[in-house]
């Protein structure tokens, strides 16, 4: 199950809520304002690393990172374009956490 998150973790609890429901192996894809979660050096770094350690792959949509001036992402985070987003959707059913 692919989980997409589109909210900044700084003003919305969607990320911290969604991770409670993650199952082993479920990937997370950050889109829209959600990508602020993976900016290198922010206070969500430890959370992102703990998700990665539980074998949950973490992706961020590159056009959304670029649009927000985020060039450095937390270690272990993979960036994808819209075509990569489509590939993830082909591999998994989708849970869009609005």
């Amino acid at each position: 199950m692919l989980h997409t998150i589109n909210k900044s973790p700084f003003e919305n609890s969607t990320l911290t809520t969604a991770v409670r429901f993650l199952q082993p192996g479920d990937p997370i894809l950050f889109i829209e304002d959600g990508v602020y979660a993976v900016q290198e050096g922010n206070r969500f770094g430890a959370l992102i690393q703990s998700v990665l350690k539980k074998n949950n792959p973490v992706y961020a949509l590159k056009p959304d990172l670029d649009a927000r001036g985020i060039s450095a992402v937390a270690e272990g985070v993979t960036t994808v374009d819209y075509a990569g987003f489509v590939d993830l959707v082909e591999e998994h059913q989708v849970n869009s956490w609005l």
């Binding site: 429901f21 199952q23 479920d26 059913q93 869009s96």
Partner: protein, 122 residues
């Protein structure tokens, strides 16, 4: 895809009257209920407030709909799950809710999520 019955989960995440999402979500659920799919409703975070007893919306001029959740049983929608942590964080118990629900751990709800064909958040 085969034509078997689909598992469709509706996830209620918002408080009821500050925005229309829960109300229109409920309208969607009532229509889908007529299609005899495997429907479930999950209440997470502020979504739980939609089920709070004693809501009186007369003063804000918005139609109340908490009682509509009580009608779901008549549409054979019987899978109503509540996230335990969300309930407890809000200082609520099952007795505060207008319908019978199953209170579950996030890990159990997460497992149910992986079994779904479609998940819609409201």
């Amino acid at each position: 895809m085969d034509t078997d019955i689909k598992k469709i989960m509706h996830v209620m995440r918002r408080a009821p009257h500050g925005s229309i999402y829960t109300y229109e979500g409920l309208e969607m659920i009532l229509i889908m209920a007529a299609y005899e799919q495997d429907l479930s409703l999950v209440f997470i975070g502020d979504g739980i407030y939609a089920l709070k007893k004693n809501q009186d919306t007369a003063g804000i001029g918005i139609k109340g709909f908490s009682r509509t959740f009580m009608a779901l049983d008549g549409y054979d929608v019987e899978k109503l799950y509540v996230d335990r942590q969300s309930l407890e964080e809000r200082g609520l118990t099952e007795d505060d809710l207008v319908v019978d629900v199953e209170v579950m751990e996030a890990s159990e709800i997460g497992q149910l999520m992986t079994e779904q064909d479609v998940i819609i958040h409201h």
